[in-house]
Structure formats: structure tokens, C-alpha cells
């Protein structure tokens, strides 16, 4: 990796650690994850079945929010502070700059996730191997996918406040309303929509893909069927492709937008 890219990654990481909002939400996530784990531990034998899904819900709410907050100002923020021109005058290409920003902020996100699960691990005791380890990688992937989406918002908007508004909309739509929408489709169509289509619609949203993947881990296939869910998690190869598309796609799109952007 070129030195200029490495410097930019470290610069991004160091700046993020001073972001008050990121710190507050990361700490809140850590506190809630610890509380859930502590509560689940008291359930004795049912600890894994109780703690796992609760942490999945918590992660699917908090991690996308932290990721979007972390990245929504990556480009538009620099533009508003007039530092975008300065960054672009460095010996670094625009696409390379976008990747450096993504990696730097991705490291900050990973630190936030590790802080959350790490603090939960202190209370998890023996169940930590069964609950926290399977959660870690998919949670990081979920975070990176939303980080990538936030980066795209930061490239699309000309004002930071507009990008911040878009963050709220994206978070509500993808994390809350998307599943409700699918449920509505099922009810209205009275089951006419095929399982294949429903499955495609679920995995078209990174939050849905994460939930489905984790539910199967903690509840197993039978558990899912008991909940009336017959859709299956894609095989690992397809999963890798899906997560890669969600993470890489928006970053490339952001770079493409920046390449076409006139910087004053």
C-alpha cells in the first residue's frame, strides 16, 4: 500500500475516534450488549437461545446506525470544510482516496463492534464462544455494507445536513420498514408471492440478509420453520458474493461520482 493511502487511512481513523456521536452510540451499544448478555446468562441452559437472537436484534439496529454516522460525511464533509481540494491535491487518485476513507472508517467501525462484543464477552462467560464468535464476522460485514452505503450518500449529496437526513431515512427504511413491507406484501398477496421471490427480497437488504443468516445460526433450520420461515440462507459462496456486492458496489459508485465531481 502506498504511503499516502496509509497516511489517509490513519488520518481517517484518528479523526473518527474524536467524533462524539460515534463514541456515544458505540458506548451505548456496548452497554446494551453487556446488559443483554448478563440477562441471558441468568437463563441458565437457555442462555444461548435467548442471548443470541437478542444480540442479533441489537446489532442489526445499532451497527448500521454507527456505520452510517461514521461515513455519511466522508466526502460531503470534506467538501464543506474546503479540505476536499487539499486531499485531492495530494499525490493520490480519487478512487484510491475513497477506498482509503472506507478502510479508515471501517477500522473505526470494527473497533466500535469489538468494543460492544468485547464488553459483552466479559459477562457472557462460557456461552461467549457459542454466541459472540458466530456473530462477530456477519456483524462486521453488516457494518461495512452500511458504511459503504453511507459513503455513497456522502458522495451524492452537496450538503452534509442533506446527507445526515438521508442517513435517517436509509436507516429507518432498511432496518425497520423493509421487513414490515415484506410482511405487508405477504399478507396482501395472501401467499401468492413465491418463496424464491420472498427470499430474493429478504437478501436484497443487507439487514435482512444478516438477520436471516443469524437466525439460522441460533435457531437452526427447524427453529426457522417453527416461526413459519421457509426461506433458506444462501450457500456460503453466494453469501460471500452478496456481502462483497453490498460492500464493494457503493464504494465503487462513490469513487465514480467523485471522479465526475467538480471540486472548487
Amino acid at each position: 500500500m502506498r504511503r499516502v493511502a496509509r497516511s489517509l487511512i490513519l488520518h481517517e481513523l484518528s479523526e473518527r475516534t474524536r467524533d462524539r456521536w460515534v463514541l456515544v452510540i458505540s458506548l451505548l451499544f456496548a452497554v446494551l450488549a453487556s446488559a443483554v448478555t448478563l440477562y441471558g446468562r441468568s437463563a441458565g441452559a437457555k442462555a444461548v437461545g435467548l442471548t443470541g437472537p437478542s444480540l442479533v436484534t441489537l446489532a442489526s439496529l445499532f451497527v448500521p446506525l454507527v456505520a452510517l454516522i461514521l461515513s455519511h460525511d466522508a466526502i460531503v464533509g470534506e467538501s464543506e470544510r474546503n479540505t476536499l481540494g487539499l486531499l485531492l491535491s495530494l499525490p493520490i487518485g480519487r478512487m484510491e482516496m475513497v477506498w482509503a476513507k472506507f478502510i479508515g472508517r471501517g477500522l473505526a467501525l470494527s473497533a466500535a463492534v469489538l468494543l460492544g462484543f468485547g464488553s459483552a464477552g466479559i459477562f457472557a462467560g462460557a456461552v461467549s464462544r457459542q454466541v459472540l464468535w458466530p456473530l462477530l464476522l456477519p456483524t462486521l460485514l453488516l457494518g461495512l455494507a452500511f458504511l459503504s452505503l453511507g459513503l455513497l450518500l456522502s458522495a451524492l449529496y452537496k450538503r452534509q445536513v442533506s446527507a445526515a437526513s438521508a442517513v435517517v431515512v436509509v436507516w429507518f427504511v432498511l432496518v425497520f420498514f423493509y421487513d414490515l413491507g415484506l410482511l405487508g406484501v405477504l399478507v396482501i398477496s395472501d401467499g401468492a408471492v413465491s418463496q424464491g421471490v420472498m427470499r430474493a427480497l429478504v437478501i436484497a437488504n443487507p439487514a435482512g440478509l444478516f438477520r436471516m443468516q443469524m437466525m439460522e445460526v441460533f435457531l437452526g433450520t427447524q427453529g426457522l420453520e417453527q416461526l413459519g420461515m421457509t426461506a433458506r440462507v444462501p450457500v456460503s459462496g453466494v453469501l460471500a458474493v452478496l456481502w462483497s456486492a453490498w460492500i464493494v458496489g457503493p464504494v465503487l459508485l462513490s469513487g465514480w461520482i467523485l471522479l465526475r465531481k467538480k471540486v472548487i
Partner: protein
């Protein structure tokens, strides 16, 4: 001590430089070999503490910073402050820190050359076939009203915009085929450009490392620069807590941290108090003189440009209108001396008749409130005549002021008085 540009000797040197033509002639710098293993000193400043710091090996960064801080304090107080040069930029030592001072290198005589550069925005031609050569070692002023094409030219120079036609050559390399030539340029824009959540030291070290400068050298250089521009005490304070003047000075250092050979300054004295203005001006002059470096300066403050620039280009509507030294420009676009007469009362019964007569004497007569200003070729010859007119029409004079022709007069003469859109 830096107003030497008014001395005959310097003027002669400058004239000689401008007669070099625009060909890429080379100035070669050679330095004597070192006898102690360290780079030789070309300036009398001891570089030893820099190397002590570098040789600290694997000592923790904080320890290095602390020892550097005390070393710099000691050297600055003993050497520069002691010799009355406290406000001067310690650029030679910075050069040692980079290892450049003992590197034999060749610089082309022309630092920047624009060849038929054109930039269009739709039907608007922002820069129109601009040809210009800026010499190494000069402070080059660019003047023009809003929309003249100065900012667009600078953005093309920095690689933020690509010209539609023509070529830009920087230190002998064409920017379109060698984008890395951008690293020869440091830009200090008009608006503040910094990261509010980072300290001055962090910002400088980040930018230096982005230009491949090893961290220890970057750190040392940053500390020296902060000391030179009076930001030492604030080196670890977040930028958002700095005053406007401090931020401006930090911006200048951010443009210089990677040791460019060309510095672009856009309104460098905007938002600075008089003390900071003097400090920045001296720092920039020292920077240019020390290393045959080049400054491209744009400003609406004619006084500032006249004081700093060796040569001035006046642009309007994307075209170069005139290019010469300030003195030559004033001679070429001689408008005559200005005489201002302040009358006691604007409601004088015969004022209009007097103005009519004055028009026969002066090339330009203007009346605003109680001020009647006029321009004439030889003020000494005509002064008594003018005063006689006022006496003849019984207009009481409150005050008489004169001033020689300025760069602003040249600017107005070339670009007109019509207001321009922002």
C-alpha cells in the same frame, strides 16, 4: 531588512533575471562536501539537534517529541532570537531536515509555464489561450477582478481542473502527462482549509507523510515551522480552538510542509492582524530567497501585491492584459499623479463652474461629496493653477492631498470601473 527590492542592486539583479528569457535554463546548486558525516551548513544554523532526534532510534514517540521540543526551544532562543531573527523562517534547517540541503539538484529557470491554456464552462470562456512564464525565485502577482480567471488558472495549476486546451508545465514537467509534478506546488487558498478535530502538529505531520516524508523528519519539520510562525504554544490544541489568524498561519504551513518549490497564495493576508501580516510576509520572502523558490500570489489588495510581488500579471475575462514589474506597469500605464482637494462645504455656488475649468487642466476630474480629485501629468507645474481656480471661484479649501500613481490605478485603467459579478 526585507524591503531590499527597492534597492538598486536588487533591482539590477531582478532585471538581469527577467532578461533570461523563458527557455528552460538550468541553475545548478552545489554544496561543499561534509567533513563530519553530517550535511554541511550553508547558513550557519546548527543542524545537529535534528540529527540527534533522528538518531534517537526506537525511543518512544512522546520522548522524541519532548526532547525535540526542548532542543528546538534551546536552538531558537540561542540562535535566532539571539541574533534578532526570531520572526524569520528557519527554512534552511527545514531543508536539512528533509535531506535536501546537501543534495545537488538542478532547477529549471522557468518554474511554471502556461502555453495556450484555455478553460470553458459551457459558453463561458473562463481562461482564454493564456500564455505565461513564471520564473524560479520570483514572487509573481496575479491581479484581476472577479471572473478574471485567476482562480480557474490556479485550480488548473493544482490539478483540480484540466485545461480544455493548452499545456501547463511545472518545473519542466507537463502536468497532463506527469500528474506527480503537482507535488512541486503548495497551495494556501483564500478560505480556511483545515481539519477542526486535529491539532496543528497532527495536520502538518499527516500532510508531510502523505508526501512520503518519513515521520520523524515530518515531525521535526512541523515543530520548526510551528515555532517560526508563532504556533508553537498551540501545537497540541485542536484547530477548532485556534483564532482566525492562527488558522491562516497554519494554512500557510500546511501548504509548505512538503517543501514545494512553488507556493500559490490566494489572498494570504485576509483575516490577519498587522503583526501577523508582517510575520507572514517576512516568512514568505525568506522562503523564496532561501531556496530560489517561487510564489504565485493572487489578491484584491493591490497594496499587498505591490509590496510583495516582483512581477505582476493583470488578467481580465480570462486573458492576460499586462505583465511586468509593478514599477514598469505604473510607467506603462501612466495615469498621472493624483491631487485630492477637500473643500469645506459641498454646497458651493460656483463649484460646477470650477469643475468645468479644472477639466481643462487635469486629465480626469471627479467630485464626491467634499472631495474633488483630479489627475494630471505634472502636479508640480499645475498645482498653483488649480489652487488659483478654487480661489477665483471663492471655494474654501479644507485640505490638499497628493499621491503618486499606484498599482490600483493601473488595475482600474486596464480593467475599467464597471462592477463584476461575484
Amino acid at each position: 531588512m526585507f524591503d531590499a527590492k527597492d534597492s538598486g542592486n536588487q533591482e539590477a539583479q531582478r532585471s538581469a533575471r527577467y532578461t533570461n528569457g523563458s527557455s528552460h535554463r538550468a541553475n545548478t546548486k552545489e554544496y561543499p562536501p561534509s567533513t563530519n558525516g553530517y550535511p554541511p551548513s550553508t547558513n550557519g544554523y546548527p543542524p545537529s539537534f535534528v540529527f540527534e532526534a533522528e538518531n534517537a532510534g526506537s525511543t518512544a514517540r512522546k520522548k522524541v517529541a519532548a526532547s525535540l521540543a526542548s532542543a528546538i526551544d534551546r536552538v531558537v532562543s540561542e540562535t535566532w532570537e539571539g541574533s534578532g531573527q526570531a520572526s524569520m523562517a528557519p527554512m534552511p534547517v527545514l531543508a536539512f531536515a528533509s535531506g535536501r540541503a546537501y543534495t545537488q539538484h538542478t532547477e529549471p529557470a522557468v518554474a511554471v509555464e502556461l502555453r495556450g491554456v484555455t478553460k470553458r464552462y459551457g459558453s463561458l470562456v473562463a481562461v482564454d489561450h493564456l500564455d505565461m512564464a513564471i520564473q524560479s525565485g520570483e514572487i509573481f502577482g496575479m491581479l484581476g477582478p472577479n471572473g478574471a480567471g485567476k482562480t480557474t488558472t490556479i485550480q488548473m495549476l493544482c490539478g483540480l481542473l484540466k485545461p480544455d486546451e493548452g499545456e501547463i508545465w511545472v518545473q519542466g514537467a507537463c502536468l497532463s502527462s506527469s500528474p506527480d509534478a503537482r507535488r512541486h506546488i503548495g497551495v494556501c487558498p483564500q478560505q480556511l482549509v483545515l481539519w477542526e478535530k486535529m491539532t496543528p502538529l497532527e495536520q502538518l505531520v499527516f500532510l508531510a507523510s502523505a508526501y512520503d516524508i518519513p515521520e520523524k523528519i515530518a515531525h521535526t519539520r512541523a515543530l520548526l515551522m510551528l515555532k517560526a510562525l508563532g504556533l508553537w504554544e498551540k501545537r497540541d490544541t485542536l484547530a477548532k480552538y485556534l483564532s482566525g489568524g492562527m488558522k491562516r498561519r497554519l494554512n500557510l504551513l500546511m501548504a509548505l510542509i512538503h517543501e514545494p518549490s512553488i507556493l500559490v497564495l490566494d489572498e494570504p493576508e485576509a483575516g490577519l492582524d498587522p503583526q501577523s501580516r508582517v510575520l507572514v510576509r517576512e516568512y514568505v520572502r525568506a522562503w523564496v530567497r532561501e531556496g530560489q523558490r517561487t510564489v504565485i500570489l493572487t489578491s484584491h489588495n493591490m497594496d499587498e501585491v505591490e509590496r510583495l510581488a516582483d512581477r505582476v500579471a493583470v488578467m481580465d475575462r480570462g486573458q492576460l492584459l499586462s505583465l511586468d514589474t509593478p514599477d514598469q506597469l505604473k510607467r506603462q500605464h501612466q495615469q498621472g499623479d493624483l491631487l485630492e482637494i477637500e473643500i469645506a462645504d459641498a454646497a458651493q455656488p460656483h463649484l460646477e463652474e470650477a469643475l468645468f475649468v479644472l477639466h481643462q487642466i487635469a486629465s480626469e476630474v471627479r467630485w464626491e461629496g467634499t472631495i474633488v480629485s483630479m489627475r494630471m501629468d505634472s502636479l508640480v507645474e499645475h498645482l498653483s493653477l488649480v489652487l488659483g481656480v478654487f480661489r477665483r471661484f471663492k471655494i474654501a479649501i479644507h485640505a490638499v492631498r497628493t499621491r503618486p500613481s499606484t498599482l490600483e490605478d493601473v488595475f482600474i485603467s486596464l480593467t475599467g470601473r464597471a462592477l463584476r459579478d461575484e
